[in-house]
Symmetry: C2
Subunit: 239 residues, 2 copies
DNA sequence: CGCTCAGTTGAACCCGCTCAAGCTGCGTGG
DNA sequence: CCACGCAGCTTGAGCGGGTTCAACTGAGCG
């Protein structure tokens, strides 16, 4: 039953019959928990299992030679975290737990087999990796061509939508379990600058913060400020 | 026979039997030519064919609200240019010809069918999109965490390797059909700054330029300067 | 109570941008 | 064959968004 969130997520973008759902549910699973900052997939290894996040957040990272970290993506419950590495001979980046997480490991080969026995599963999983790639592309635009405030607003919008899509909060009121340093590493900025911009956005009334809780008073305004168009998320209903 | 370069490229990373090669070769094809800057796949449309580049370069782009362009990826002959959009309901970015190009369009549905009739084809094509995603990730690190000179050196190394891999030149001596403005749009910089950095790199003896031809005197040095590790390209022999 | 980690703030600096002018190579037409 | 036009390249001067460095605050926790 651990696999249910995956089915829910895949169904968000690709219809899924009963037979396919049963096939997914009958996969053998290995339960695992990771505490914050623990490595889930290590760069350079060849995992034989795919990790399905059940609870908590995770993130992909790479370290540049300068020693600076770049966060490539943030993952939420229901995300299949290392499908990106599924067919690659070895992982080219590391996946870590952002918060304490619970997850389920599925045998990679069995999962791949299902892709060819049930076309809908194959397409749904392929699609899932293509959507990941779409987020990567948006991330390139973010760090390449948007200024600091726009980047932050954009990230908040994206996380709001994604959190709402999995029922973990509302798009304009959610828990953001990231330190300012992590936000910086995600957006190609420094923690100091993130701090100043967040403060300015709060003063200007774009957002409210209580600890790590984010409230967005005027969503359309934030979306405008963040140059945010949810199209690239490829969610069923557009939002 | 137009499909031969595709088979060669897929085989670079995934073994391919005779039956699979025959199946690919027997796909119906539609030949097309695009002159430089022509749109190959337009954002917002749902292409029913996949474009295989035969000759010339292409690039993916997105326009930020500020009007600035971000180039997401550069594609070389043999690349299947819109597999990224194959399963997505609509293209979230535009693909354009960088130079005059010749290409072949393959019916999307027939191609997808082959993926399920021949597992090796399915895995090779999925893998291809995963490698694309790996390049996107490296691109995020580039614009997020590397300074201007490092970015340029990194891009030159990547293109050198990829051009050599398809036999279009040597990694340390190749034609680069990009204006400085395009380099800038690719790397999240301005054309003026690209110009200054290229000049400095030439003065320092890292590269030589004659028109659009690039010669790299000391490849290991450029690779070091560019924080370049070809692992993320996932080529068979590591280089 | 003291340690540690995250967040906050200030001052100085610098990498890359902006604006603006001039240059170069090349295709086109007279 | 030259004149013109134009796109891409080059160069300079000044500016500014974001960084760096450093100090301080505040919350959680043993």
């Amino acid at each position: 039953m651990y696999v249910a969130p995956l089915i829910r997520k895949l169904s968000l973008r690709h219809p899924m019959g009963n037979a396919e759902q049963q096939a997914l549910l009958s996969l053998p699973t290995r339960y695992a928990a990771h505490s914050a900052e623990a490595v889930i997939v290590r760069e350079g290894t060849s995992p034989t299992e795919a990790c399905l996040l059940i609870e908590g957040f995770a993130y992909r990272e790479r370290i540049a030679r300068s020693g600076e970290r770049q966060i490539l993506a943030v993952h939420l419950p229901g995300d299949l975290v290392d499908l990106q590495n599924a067919l690659l001979p070895e992982a080219d980046h590391t996946v870590r737990a952002l918060t304490d997480t619970r997850s389920v490991f599925l045998p990679r080969d069995a999962l791949l087999d299902l892709c060819y026995r049930h076309r809908a599963i194959g397409e749904a999983l392929w699609l899932d990796t293509l959507v990941d790639a779409s987020l990567f592309r948006e991330h390139i635009v973010d760090v390449g061509r948007r200024d600091a405030q726009t980047r932050i607003a954009h990230l908040l919008c994206e996380l709001g939508i994604r959190i709402e899509a999995i029922g973990l909060g509302k798009r304009d009121d959610f828990e953001l379990p990231m330190t300012q340093e992590k936000l910086a590493d995600c957006l190609g900025l420094t923690a100091v600058h993130i701090n100043r911009m967040l403060k300015r956005m709060e003063v200007e009334g774009m957002i409210e913060r209580r600890m790590r809780r984010i409230r967005i008073a005027d969503w359309p305004r934030l979306a405008r400020a963040g140059d945010f168009d949810p199209k690239y998320l490829h969610l069923r209903d557009g939002e």
